[in-house]
């Protein structure tokens, strides 16, 4: 089967972001960017399906600025066969991204689409579900295990109380949770080979998708800072403080 994987370029997860002084957003100038960690897990799962002989071709897609090609090359180095960049400079809403992905799905006709469960910048956790709605496909969100069984997909999902397993008709949409797998590193020879793999660039206009949004960000602020705490010297002092000062026990 053909597998489509969507990836996103985001601020590296180790970076502590700073809010801009004019409250228009967070400062992304000269900040290290990487592939969203959940997207790495999505790529890894697709590559494992190919290694098992289940997937025949892996197409990786991203929507973003020209620099997002770096993340596509990373995915190609990890084992994806070819890449599609939908070039768009705007900060798109999840619905707009889902609509663009739907246009790519219509063109590529994959049997399985794998996305991360959420991007660590917007923390929305929406795109996969929205793509499932637009395509009419079944969805297996927060997946910690994926098994293809004939024309069905068995997905074990992480839910609040534990784990849930659902059987989905193919084609289907899966979003990855942290425990689905441990992503591999790209090796130097594979990074070199990835430079020769095909990368196609399209625009939202060419896909016939409007990216207008009904939500606008008015301001972005730093969260309220916690007042500085104190270090206690002993357990007895800690208990005394919790009982008499904080009054929480």
């Amino acid at each position: 089967m053909k597998v489509l994987v969507a990836v996103k370029r985001v601020v590296d997860y180790n970076v502590k972001v700073r809010v801009k002084a004019d409250n228009s957003g967070v400062d992304l100038a000269n900040v290290k960017m990487s592939m969203n960690p959940f997207c790495e897990i999505a790529v890894e799962e697709a590559v494992r399906l190919k290694e098992k002989g289940v997937a025949s071709e892996i197409v990786v897609v991203t929507i973003g600025p020209a620099t997002a090609q770096e993340q596509l090359r990373t995915a190609l180095a990890l084992g994806a066969d070819r890449a599609v960049l939908v070039e768009s400079g705007d900060d798109l809403s999840s619905l707009a991204v889902a609509k663009l992905l739907k246009a790519v799905v219509d063109k590529e006709q994959p049997q399985l689409v794998i996305l991360g469960k959420q991007a660590i910048d917007s923390d929305n956790n929406q795109t996969g579900q929205m793509l499932a709605a637009l395509t009419g496909y079944a969805q297996g969100t927060f997946a910690s295990k994926v098994e293809v069984a004939g024309d069905k997909l068995n997905v074990t999902r992480e839910i609040d109380g534990g784990l849930q397993t659902v059987a989905l008709n193919l084609p289907a949409i899966v979003t990855t949770d942290l425990r689905l797998n441990e992503p591999r590193y790209a090796t130097l020879p594979n990074i070199m080979k990835a430079k020769k793999k095909p990368l196609e660039t399209v625009t939202p206009d060419a896909l016939g998708v409007s990216t207008a949004s009904t939500v606008k960000t008015i301001k972005v602020e730093a969260p309220a800072a916690r007042s500085a705490g104190i270090k206690v010297k002993s357990v007895a002092e800690l208990v005394e403080k919790l009982k008499n000062e904080a009054k929480v026990i």
């Binding site: 929305n124 929205m130 709605a133 969100t141 609040d160 397993t165 939500v215 602020e221 919790l242």
Partner: protein
């Protein structure tokens, strides 16, 4: 203007998360209707009718809605939602699963995990793992929103709403529930507990969590964990607190052997009082802790258990 709240429930009972969403709905203002979509869910609907501030409960009882599979419930919610100004669900794994599907069916953007209501169309939500708070305004005809339950108090009892049966599309035939494995615990539910005791990689192994369980039982607390502890197999994943796990805001959060990575802080830094016990005095957790104790946890935790 009326608001539709999608209930979180187990068919037999209403989940506490629903009560926090009702409070968020009250802050928006308007008539509040609660949809209970399930199978043999009359008991949950009765409970929803008793929540203060709720004027009507819609009960969609159909075998297809038993496990709230999004392929089946999203078309139902989208169809009902057209008649409302707002559709709200808790930001639980269940709400996060079906609500974006509803938003896309309605062709509107969704606003995820709001922590405050500024006005009927303006909301605050955390981004970048809680390191920034965005104020967003929606011009959508139907505002589709998930609510971070720790951002709002639970609504009280004392309502007497009517329960009205509604029907919607049958099984879409795209997905099926196979089974579930729920972790068993006698302790309070993590997201609702007043006190949470969490362990990290410093616990060393799963067996050592017994020290935390003993302390938690003495305090009537829930036990959580960092991702490192979950990934190392010390405890099951539903105990994970953080950006990708559960978001908690208890009165007291005790972090034991947890360094305090950005992703963990995202899940607990709104706790009223934070205590950190760590032998590394440079650990980032001490920057958010109200009370820090630099000590070996294997000595400090049993002593703490004795003294509380």
């Amino acid at each position: 203007m009326a608001i539709l709240v999608i209930a979180e429930h187990s068919n037999a009972a209403l989940a506490p998360a629903t009560l926090n969403v009702v409070t968020a709905a009250q802050k928006i203002g308007g008539d509040i209707h609660v949809l209970v979509a399930g199978s043999n869910a009359a008991a949950a609907a009765e409970a929803a009718a008793k929540v203060a501030g709720v004027s009507k409960v819609l009960l969609a009882d159909n075998a297809a809605y038993a496990h709230q599979l999004p392929e089946n419930v999203a078309p139902l919610i989208a169809e009902l939602g057209k008649n409302y100004s707002h559709v709200l669900a808790p930001a639980t794994t269940n709400g996060k699963n079906f609500l974006p599907r509803v938003a896309a069916l309605l062709d509107v953007d969704q606003i995820s995990e709001i922590i405050a209501v500024e006005s009927a169309d303006t909301f605050k939500r955390p981004i970048y793992a809680g390191n920034a708070i965005a104020t967003v305004q929606s011009s959508a005809a139907v505002k589709v929103i998930t609510v971070r339950t720790t951002g709002f108090d639970a609504a009280a009892e004392g309502g007497s709403a009517s329960v009205e049966a509604v029907s919607g599309p049958a099984d879409a035939g795209k997905s099926a529930f196979v089974g579930e494995e729920l972790a068993k615990s006698d302790r309070p539910e993590l997201t609702a507990a007043k006190i949470v005791v969490s362990g990290g990689r410093g616990m060393g192994n799963g067996d050592n969590f017994k020290h935390l369980y003993a302390l938690a039982d003495k305090l009537g607390a829930a036990v959580g964990a960092s991702r490192a502890a979950v990934d190392a197999g010390f405890v099951p994943n539903d105990m994970q607190v953080g950006q990708t796990g559960k978001i908690v805001a208890p009165q007291l959060y005790i972090a034991v052997g947890i360094s305090g990575a950005i992703q963990h802080l995202a899940g607990m830094k709104d706790s009223k009082v934070i205590v950190a016990i760590n032998k590394d005095e440079e650990a980032p957790i001490f920057q958010v802790a109200d009370y820090g104790l630099v000590a070996d946890l294997f000595e400090a935790v049993p002593e703490l258990e004795k003294l509380v």
